[in-house]
């Protein structure tokens, strides 16, 4: 059995570790490229949202490399994601691929069921080994997120931004290859220290909250690398969602660590008073929280036609007005061009910098010249 799975940000690193721990052979899909997008768009329903199309590209590329089992998450609506796997399976079967699809139906807050599903995947592993695999994968996930947060902090403040990104990429690869928990910790510590020690500019930076739909936030290839671009434009970006929060809240029922999910939901009142599926309510709640923390602006990102995010967007206008925080919404699909996205980001950052009387970032000055 050669297992594969869809990409979502850096999630492939802990997933590879998890499946290896379950004694499975893993074939991670190649990194998302133009070819992935083209394949996905060609074989997906025209009006499906972008994550489904990228999933399809991932699956086709993974199967071309020999994968014969796909692990995919499920769900029970109302967001479309819950029905992704069903449609994807139909299409792949019609394309003539011979494969097995394992769908992990997220059992809200029932870790035991998830463990059973995972154990059923690994053929000859004991419960103890399954537990160990999950723990190691979780450690890697936490290490990666520490690195990501550090990059978000350091990139806008760094003198040499390329150097900062290089440290990050190198650390990521080392974590991917690490064989033990001690090794992961050592890599994380060293890389974090190296990032901290790099020379910083003294100028104040903008703080921008990035909210929206989970896949678009986590997968840089789906959003033209919005977070990195903002960092390079001297803006400190805080995301509303990290993978570990989602895993903790939805798979482990808030069991692994204290969750601020309730607080975010509370903040969404009185603007949005009920669940709307996906991360629509979180988007509104996080926006309110960011505004209260004196962030300079909010960028909402989502795949085009994302239902929960359209609800959130309809409401963000009022939040923006009442809490006096500039908000911008960007939708992404296969037609999103990087240049157009950068122009909008530059304009937004420029506007915020003027509003705050900050000097324009050198990149902007360069662009203007």
């Amino acid at each position: 059995m050669k297992v594969s799975f869809p990409h979502m940000g850096y999630l492939y690193i802990p997933l590879k570790t998890l499946f290896k721990g379950l004694k499975l052979e893993v074939i991670a899909p190649p990194p998302i490229s133009q070819k992935t997008m083209e394949l996905g768009v060609k074989y997906s329903p025209e009006f499906a949202c972008l994550p489904l199309k990228i999933n399809m590209g991932n699956f086709i590329e993974a199967m071309e490399q020999g994968a014969d089992t796909i692990v995919m998450a499920g769900g029970w609506g109302p967001c479309r994601f819950g029905y992704y796997a069903q449609v994807e399976r139909e299409i792949l079967q019609e394309l003539g691929y011979d494969f097995k699809m394992v769908i992990l139906e997220a059992p809200d807050s029932r870790i035991s069921e998830l463990l059973l599903q995972l154990k059923a995947l690994g053929e000859k592993v004991s419960v103890r080994e399954a537990y160990k695999a999950i723990r190691f994968a979780w450690k890697k996930l936490i290490a990666i997120e520490k690195l990501e947060k550090m990059l978000e902090y350091c990139l806008p403040r760094a003198v040499d931004k390329n150097h900062m990104e290089t440290i990050f990429e190198r650390a990521l690869q080392a974590v991917d290859e690490a064989e033990s928990q001690q090794e992961v910790e050592k890599i994380a510590q060293e890389s974090l220290r190296e990032m901290e020690k790099s020379p910083f500019k003294s100028a104040e930076v903008l703080k921008i909250g990035l909210v929206g739909e989970i896949y678009t936030i986590l997968e840089p290839a789906s959003n033209c690398h919005v977070a990195r671009c903002l960092g390079r434009l001297d803006a400190h970006v805080s995301r509303s969602i990290y993978v570990s929060d989602w895993v903790n809240d939805h798979l482990f029922g808030g069991y692994l660590r204290k969750s601020n999910h309730k607080q975010i939901m509370q903040s969404s009142r009185p603007y949005l008073n009920y669940e709307v599926g996906g991360h629509g309510r979180e988007t509104v709640g996080s926006t309110v929280d960011f505004a209260r923390l004196d962030y300079n602006g909010i960028i909402q990102i989502a795949p085009l036609t994302c239902m929960p995010e359209i609800v959130a967007q309809s409401i963000l206008g009022k939040v923006s007005e009442e809490l006096e925080i500039p908000c911008m919404t960007m939708y992404f699909d296969e037609h999103s061009g990087a240049a157009g996205v950068y122009t909008r980001l530059e304009a937004f950052v420029d506007m915020l910098q003027r509003k705050k009387n900050l000097p324009s970032s050198p990149l902007l000055l360069e662009a203007r010249a």
Binding site: K42, Y43, P45, E46, F47, A48, C49, I60, G74, W76, G77, P78, C79, R80, G82, Y83, Y84, A85, Q86, V87, E90, E94, L95, G96, Y271, L272, N273, Y274, E275, V276, G277, G278, G280, L304, T305, C306, M307, P308, I310, V311, Q313, S314, I315, G317, K318, T329, Y331
Partner: protein, 341 residues
């Protein structure tokens, strides 16, 4: 006498008889907006964010129209789920909040939450809460609600005799039944009721087909047991109420000898339809001629008419030529090139 406004849009087409009887029994005067027209659409487009789907834009237009009237309350239910373990669409779940955020001056909203996904407890409490706005007697509220449910059943049984929900509501309110035209084609027409029965959104799809001598079969005519049983044949239960109804109806219609073709009306950017439409197309295209019509505020009527005419012509020629082949109207060659990866 209190006055409550009900927008003639979205779930008006599925639940109006219930709410009208309920409020009337409590001594409330009901005011509905006019059927969707150019002004409703224009006002809706102005208010909504661009990416919103057409039916929600139209709904906002209706709400804006009602906001200009002298009303005590505006009825904007939050429809989360109308049956166990199923949902409508995320946009319905945020409807009262969207209205509050986008329209500045509204009468007080009655934003009752309809969430029957787990149990009916909260909904029953909410019914009482709403009733209390107009009367103190809890028993009167309960009776009014029961009466409403009965009226709704009556109206639905009217619709099952071959009418659209919109026509059934008109007949229920005392209108005359129209004589059935002569027909030579049976066409199954699927789509969310709020786009299918709204004459502006569907551009009169049902009436146009009838004018082309077609008998139109709608999900309301098929009997919910048959539809549910067919829908249960897919590997994973569809968790959208309307999507499941559509899928079950499509599967049922595609197996019926007397059905000549199937038309699916979708609105551009509709989330559930983007996946359900795909599944239906895959299941149906080997058995019956099928077209998917996608409409939005930019759709021209001429384009729709042309496609309907072509579809009907094709069905008639197919039958008259005696070509009983089960060849899909897509033809084989259209799809074969896609199989060469």
């Amino acid at each position: 006498m209190s006055r409550v406004g009900i927008p003639r849009s979205l779930f008006y087409y599925y639940y109006y008889p219930l709410w009208k009887s309920f409020f009337s029994d409590l001594g409330v005067e009901i005011l509905t907006s006019a059927p969707s027209n150019r002004h409703t659409v224009e006002r809706g487009i102005e208010l909504a964010v661009d990416e919103t789907c057409f039916p929600i834009k139209v709904y906002l237009g209706h709400v804006a129209e009602l906001c200009r009237e002298e009303l005590d309350y505006l009825f904007i239910p939050r429809l989360v789920s109308v049956e166990a373990r199923s949902y409508i669409c995320p946009k319905f779940m945020g409807l009262p909040d969207i209205v509050r955020a986008l329209i500045k001056e509204t009468p007080p909203l009655i934003d009752i939450t309809v969430d029957l996904s787990r149990d009916e407890k909260c909904f029953k409490k909410d019914i009482i809460r709403v009733g209390r706005l107009f009367t103190r007697q809890a028993s009167r509220i309960q009776l009014a609600y029961q009466h409403g449910c009965e009226e709704l059943r009556l109206c639905r049984s009217l619709a099952s005799q071959g009418f659209t929900m919109e026509e059934a509501i008109k007949i229920w309110e005392g209108g005359a039944m129209e004589a059935e035209p002569e027909t030579d084609l049976n066409i199954g027409v699927l789509g969310h009721g709020y786009s299918l029965y709204d004459e502006r959104i569907s551009m009169n799809l049902v009436k146009r087909l009838r004018a082309m001598n077609c008998k139109v079969l709608l999900p309301e005519h098929l009997g919910s047991e048959v539809v549910e049983a067919e829908a249960a044949t897919v590997p994973k239960r569809v968790f959208w109420t309307l999507g499941r109804k559509m899928l079950g109806s499509a599967l049922h219609l595609s197996q019926r000898e007397d059905v000549d073709g199937i038309i699916y009306l979708a609105c551009f950017g509709c989330g559930p339809d983007s996946l359900i439409g795909e599944i239906i197309e895959r299941k149906v295209r080997d058995c019956k001629p099928f077209i998917l019509l996608t409409v939005d505020e930019h759709s021209g009527e001429a384009g729709i008419i042309t496609r309907l005419e072509a579809f009907c012509d094709m069905l008639r020629r197919r039958r008259n030529c005696g070509s009983e082949s089960k060849l899909s109207p897509y033809g084989v060659s259209l799809h074969s090139f896609e199989n060469t990866v």
